[in-house]
Amino acid sequence: MSCLVAAVELIEVSKRYGYLWALNSISLKVDSGELVAFLGPNGAGKTTLMKIAATHTFPSSGNVKIFEQDAFKNGGQTRKRIGFVTHESFLYDELTVEENVRFYAKLFSVKQENPHNIIEFLSLKRWYRVPVKRLSYGLRKRADIVRALVHRPDLILLDELFAGLDEETCELLVDYFRNQQPKAVLVSSHSIEWAKKLCDRGIFLDKGEIAQDTRF
């Protein structure tokens, strides 16, 4: 009998935008410690799936469980255990990286506001007191990862993690997230190459359905 806790469990989850079914009766389970990549072409449903797992979007039907609890019944408690990075930055341009991180740390009731380890690892120390609007896309993405991990989440959701990043930054992120076990890491990506470097399992989506679920 497995003693692993399911970090994410989707049961018959569908999501409809108007007449379009972005997700069609998806069922899957991701255990703690697993690194899973969601792959597929544009419009396959990767971002919708990540948003539902992050409790940003309600599914049209089906159940979502995060660490074996109903994700939407007590959204606040669920979100305390989730770190979510998307292709859009959640940082405020006028504030420095430090001020942004402090803002999120405060609202997540984190006492240790300076996550030194992550900042050092992602080579952000030099940029920590610089307004976000002055950062390049890659640096902004790194800062956004610090923001998402400031409350030490058990489930890390990374939507289009590698999009627009140089090889060096991608390597850095792969190194970082490969050492995050026993946390569960879910990545959506177009790049099979980078997904294989980071993840142990790949789920291929097509037109809102699971086309293939495979071990790398």
Binding site: H56, I82, F90, L91, Y92, D93, E94, L95, Y104, L107
Partner: protein, 225 residues
């Protein structure tokens, strides 16, 4: 983290971001001051100093200044993608809305201080004897406006014509607030005391509780859209 601490944190962040790029807050203040000057020049000294004209002018200017504030409230979060960040927070949608309301209250109080200062000069108004009553009316009116404006700003943020919709929706929703506030301000300028403005204060309070109840029940669906 509690409801009020979360709201305070969001309001502090908004104010810090707003005052970093002072041109937006300055544009609201300059709009208010120039409106006072234009009214004063257009109506002349005698008409502008009449209580009903001055009270109406003050609230009309404040209302338009508030529209400028609310166009950047939730809309900016949506346009810059930071709304997703607020949705990651372990708090209720109402706490996020209340944070925006607190931010709007601070900005509008600042506008109101400038308005009162300039109107006392250009409209030749004398508030000092009834300052407490005036503060009470303006505070309640501003809280109501902030609640209504932030709620409507949240409602329209996903639409394409958000600026137009905001102006179209905000005016009819705020009509009871504007009418009560203008009447109460006029009475205060005429030297009446707090007992005389009780009906208007009651209406302002009822509006606030009604809107807070509606917003509290529905705002999580607004954020999810």
């Amino acid at each position: 983290m509690g409801f009020f601490s979360t709201a305070k944190g969001i309001a502090e962040k908004d104010l810090k971001a707003e005052f970093r790029k002072v041109y937006e807050i300055f544009s609201i203040l300059i709009f208010s001051v120039s409106s006072i000057l234009i009214c004063s020049l257009a109506w002349g000294g005698v008409l502008a100093s009449r209580s009903e004209v001055a009270a109406a002018a003050l609230w009309i200017i404040l209302f338009f200044a508030s529209v400028l504030t609310f166009t950047t409230s939730f809309t900016r979060e949506k346009d810059r993608g930071t709304l997703g960040g607020l949705k990651t927070l372990p708090c209720s949608a109402s706490a996020i809305l209340f944070g925006k309301v607190l931010y709007a209250i601070v900005v509008l109080l600042l506008v109101e201080c400038v308005l009162l200062l300039f109107s006392s000069v250009f409209f030749s108004l004398e508030f000092s004897e009834r300052l407490l009553e005036l503060v009470l009316v303006f505070l309640l009116g501003i809280v109501d406006l902030s609640f209504a404006g932030s709620f409507v700003s949240g409602l329209v943020m996903f639409s394409e014509g958000k600026t137009l919709l905001l102006s179209l929706l905000l005016f009819p929703i705020c009509m009871p607030v504007l009418m009560s506030s203008v009447l109460a301000t006029e009475k205060i300028i005429n030297g009446l005391n707090v007992v005389d403005i009780l009906p208007e204060l009651r209406l302002l309070l009822a509006f606030l509780f009604g809107l807070a109840a509606i917003a509290g029940l529905t705002f999580k669906f607004v954020l999810e859209a």
